[in-house]
């Protein structure tokens, strides 16, 4: 064996590789992907049935219900983010790979968003329609939900990494992530309400964008540190 340093695959290779693998796995087990989506669809279609057909009231409550459903659907899928990898030992192999761990954590969060967040964003116009929300708010709904679900996947990955080694870490995970998710919920729902009423929405969108950027830059490092702790 020669003494030269073996040439490593590039940084981007590791990132792409993890994303591709997780998407591949999700494809093999579509149930895991569809679960949060079903939850989101069921909650937001049952609500109009329970509240009644009053169009004005529905349109008023719509943004709030939409966002709560999206938040809970995202939380539902967070628990399994690192759990499978932990159980079959692939997480250990990731930790011991020569790739920077924050990058791999970022890849896991991106993959999580692609299979759980993106579908929510895509079906949200349909849900908005069932709440009789005006068409002019559709674009803002999708934009804010995109920023919001990306933030949730990133922030959630910190909680998922911290609780991965614990039995029944699910409740703890929700407790850890919910406070961080509150700003997303408040600004998201409010911005969609404003859009539905025809008011200016840029302030809320900017805030969600800034929050998303903050999560994007800091969460991978926190997740990496949490993974090292959980695997001690």
């Amino acid at each position: 064996m020669s003494d030269r340093e073996p040439e490593l695959p590039g940084l981007l290779d590791g990132l792409v590789c993890v994303i591709r693998r997780d998407l591949h796995l999700a494809w093999r087990r579509p149930g895991d992907v569809l679960n949060p989506l079903f939850f989101f669809a069921i909650v937001s279609t049952l609500f109009p049935l329970a509240v009644g057909p009053d169009a004005e009231q529905l349109a008023l409550n719509g943004p709030g219900v939409l966002w709560v459903a999206a938040l809970l659907a995202a939380l539902l899928s967070l628990n399994s983010l690192f759990l499978n990898d932990y159980e079959d030992g692939t997480l250990e192999q990731l930790l011991l790979s020569p790739q920077p761990l924050p990058l791999l954590a970022l890849a896991k969060a991106i993959a999580h968003w692609l299979v759980s967040g993106l579908p929510l964003v895509l079906v949200s116009p349909l849900v908005a329609m069932s709440f009789q929300m005006p068409a002019r708010s559709t674009a803002v709904t999708m934009l804010t939900l995109t920023l919001g679900t990306v933030s949730l996947s990133l922030l959630g990955s910190i909680g998922a990494a911290l609780t991965v080694g614990l039995n029944r870490g699910n409740a703890l995970l929700s407790l850890l992530v919910l406070p961080l998710a509150m700003p997303v919920l408040i600004f998201g729902a409010r911005t969609v309400s404003l859009a539905a009423a025809g008011d200016a929405t840029s302030a809320g969108v900017y805030f969600l964008g800034a929050y998303c950027m903050l999560a994007l830059t800091l969460a991978p490092f926190a997740t990496a540190a949490a993974l090292r702790i959980s695997n001690e």
Binding site: M1, P9, H24, D88, P98
Partner: protein
């Protein structure tokens, strides 16, 4: 010439001291076996060497540098074979190996040759979870062989393997050491190789 050493390693779990002031050193072409009864901390020591656990005192050095300071370079120089296979059950053997090759340097062009040699070449199209425990161990061996890393960390490599499989472990290990590699192995079994061997006994 690569060198791995442990200096004054102490590890305490809960109120129990697994080992105190443990020292070892090994160079290219050498083998270190970690022995001891169940629950004596063999796996914990292996994990500390790999850098998954921080020892309470002391340090592990790779080429005279604390491995915590050169984590990435150290990880590029080691492969880890644990109890759990570390492969995805839903993916096939080849998909799993291809994924790994995106993370570390692997000689995928040699994959077929080695899979034939390990007796798992006919199993490449079925999901990994459908393989028997012994076959899964053989695939884990393939990861060791295909990765271009000088340091092999093997935790109970003989578990679940039949006699032929155990011979395979000896065979690939002998080859690895002859090529200037090194190996730390936690095992209950007597390991007889024509290579310089060190021993750590845990109580």
């Amino acid at each position: 010439m690569a060198e791995l050493s442990g200096q004054a390693l102490t590890l305490i779990r809960g109120d129990r001291c697994l080992f105190r002031g443990l020292e070892f050193a090994l160079k290219s072409g050498e083998l270190l076996t970690v022995e001891g009864p169940n629950g004596s901390g063999k796996t914990t020591l292996m994990r500390a060497i790999a850098g998954l656990i921080d020892p309470d005192e002391g340090m592990v050095r790779w080429n005279d540098t604390n491995v915590k300071r050169i984590r990435q370079a150290f990880h590029a120089s080691l492969v880890w074979m644990a109890h759990r296979p570390g492969f995805k059950g839903d993916l096939t053997l080849i998909e799993n190996l291809r994924f790994e090759s995106g993370l570390r340097t692997m000689r995928m062009s040699m994959a077929e040759h080695h899979l034939v040699r390990l007796g798992v070449a006919t199993l490449t199209d079925i999901p990994f979870r459908a393989l028997s425990a012994g076959q899964q161990r053989r695939v884990a061996l393939a990861r060791l062989i295909l990765t271009e890393a000088p340091l092999w960390l093997m935790d109970e490599p003989f578990a679940n393997l039949d006699a032929a499989g155990q011979d395979l472990v000896f065979e690939v290990l002998r080859e690895h050491l002859r090529n200037g590699g090194m190996c730390v192995m936690a095992t209950h079994q007597e390991v007889e190789l024509d290579a310089p061997a060190h021993r750590v006994r845990l109580q």
